[in-house]
């Protein structure tokens, strides 16, 4: 339960910190950390407007998207704090929960019948499809390394203490940071600030959503960032630390992660649209290197 609450608390501040860092780097006046929260509250007060050609799918999609991600949050442990739900092989379920949400958003975008939204949905589907092997190979190799197949035990028994296992830790963090960026449609693949629909990925997909629905989509984005941040923190936090150190470390890592995202967004240009697939498949390639490393450590590949 504690891990769930911690993720919720960090989710509230996550996007605010990113915006603050970006504003600081661009030498603009910094908005409050809670500005995204104010925006969402304002959106909640508004009613939603639906196009007459949309069906019921468009109305339920944001709610399913939000609830699937909220459910995915239940599976994330932090250090020795257990997750609410856990079973053997739950990381597959976790990935497909995120997939269900994304699928609903994609068909909702198709439902509006707008050319722009279809295009955005198309891109989003392609990128999520390409990023999936990276996540599974990474999770698989970490599972192989720690000999457990549920998030709870997997991170509880993850001992990164030899030279070679540091590679797994570092590469896993690197890949997870970029998976978070791709999943949330952030800088290297998509620019959240862009004003031209033709160059958008995620923003153009949710163009027709308004009011309450848009607020849910925003909160889902925060949650996704916090989920990936907690996955990253699990690679660093040792389960033998005392609970308050674990909590402090968790918040520090979330803060650093959000600052890194902000800095990456401020300094990186967006990839060319046709370069995106190759860039994303590179993450899978790095996960395969992690997998080979795990094979060496577990002596499945014997080298002398």
């Amino acid at each position: 339960m504690i891990s769930f609450l911690l993720i919720l608390i960090s989710a509230i501040f996550f996007v605010g910190v990113i915006t603050k860092v970006k504003a600081k780097i661009a030498a603009r006046k910094m908005p409050s950390v809670l500005q995204p929260v104010y925006d969402v509250i304002r959106l909640f007060k508004k009613g939603a407007i639906y196009s007459p050609i949309t069906s019921v799918i468009f109305k339920i999609a944001p709610i399913i998207y939000f609830s699937s991600i909220l459910l995915a949050t239940f599976f994330i442990p932090i250090g020795s704090q257990k997750a609410i739900l856990s079973f053997e092989g739950d990381f597959v379920f976790f990935a497909y929960l995120l997939g269900v949400g994304k699928f609903m958003m994609i068909i909702a975008a198709m439902d509006t019948g707008s050319g722009f939204e279809g295009m955005g949905a198309n891109r989003e589907a392609l990128y999520s499809m390409l990023i999936e092997p990276a996540f599974f190979i990474l999770a698989g190799s970490v599972a192989l390394f720690s000999n457990n197949i549920s998030f709870n035990d997997l991170f509880l028994h993850l001992n990164l203490d030899t030279n070679l296992s540091y590679i797994i830790g570092i590469a896993a963090i690197y890949v997870l940071v970029y998976i978070a960026m791709v999943e949330n449609s952030r800088m290297p693949v998509d620019d959240p600030k862009t004003h031209l629909e033709l160059t958008m990925v995620h923003e153009v997909m949710v163009l027709d959503n308004s009011g309450f629905d848009l607020a849910l989509i925003h909160i889902a984005t925060w949650l996704k960032f916090a989920i990936y941040g907690s996955l990253i923190s699990n690679f660093i936090i040792h389960s033998v630390w005392t609970w308050y150190w674990q909590i402090i470390a968790f918040f520090v890592i979330q803060l650093i992660f959000s600052i890194i995202v902000g800095v990456l967004e401020a300094f990186r240009a967006r990839n060319k649209m046709e370069k995106n697939p190759q860039w994303i498949i590179m993450l899978s390639a790095i996960s395969i290197v992690v997998f080979l490393t795990a094979l060496i450590i577990t002596q499945k590949i014997i080298l002398n």
């Binding site: 070679l164 498949i281 290197v289 590949i301």
Partner: protein, 209 residues
């Protein structure tokens, strides 16, 4: 510790497949030089101190400083900024690298020989294969030199794999070979660039008396 550098070396091969800028190739070659330095530093303790120092100086000085600096000079002289599109899409190149890496790891795991240090053989084999592939898919001479150097790094690792005591003469010969090869090819590229304003090999094949 050696494994760390070997795995990082494998990662540089992936970045070679990903990058399309000539400047990045030079950077990656320099990084590979440093990684080889690390491999040598942590694995060749048993050989004579003179040989050890020589190989260390060779990797750090020649592989990671002199050759990349020279290549950078050639690159600037010929105004090479961006690699012209390789003939195979980068997407496929990355898949090829990954398959090569997996294959070479599997082969090394099955070799099971006492004579060969298979941990070096893994990336050595992958590096040689990828170097050849790199030369095939690129169209300009500069990238061919880069591919040649990737193969050479692979051969260096292979020489570590086949014997812990590396014969001094072999090493010296490789060093001389590489340095002269790069120098000659660099001068060659410069001359071609000056005369024809381009170093694409497609145009070279059209040359007549």
């Amino acid at each position: 510790m050696t494994y760390l550098f070997i795995i990082l070396y494998a990662t540089t091969l992936i970045y070679f497949a990903l990058s399309e800028r000539v400047k990045k190739f030079v950077w990656l070659l320099s990084i590979q030089g440093f990684l080889l330095f690390g491999v040598v530093f942590f694995s060749l303790h048993t050989i004579e101190i003179f040989d050890f120092l020589f190989i260390l100086i060779e990797t750090i000085l020649v592989k990671s400083l002199i050759v990349p600096l020279f290549l950078n000079k050639v690159r600037k002289h010929n105004h090479l900024k961006r690699e012209h599109e390789p003939s195979v899409p980068v997407f496929y190149s990355i898949i090829v690298v990954v398959i090569t890496l997996i294959l070479s790891f599997i082969i090394s795991s099955h070799l099971n020989s006492n004579q060969i240090h298979t941990k070096y053989f893994t990336v050595a084999f992958a590096s040689i294969m990828f170097g050849i592939y790199f030369i095939i898919i690129h169209k300009n001479i500069f990238s061919h030199v880069v591919g040649y150097l990737i193969i050479e790094n692979g051969i260096f690792l292979l020489s570590l794999a086949v014997g812990s005591v590396m014969p001094m003469m072999v090493n010296l010969a490789i060093l001389l070979d590489v340095l002269m090869g790069v120098l000659v090819l660099g001068v060659f590229i410069n001359h071609i660039g000056d005369t024809f304003k381009s170093i694409e090999i497609d145009q070279l094949s059209k040359l007549k008396d």
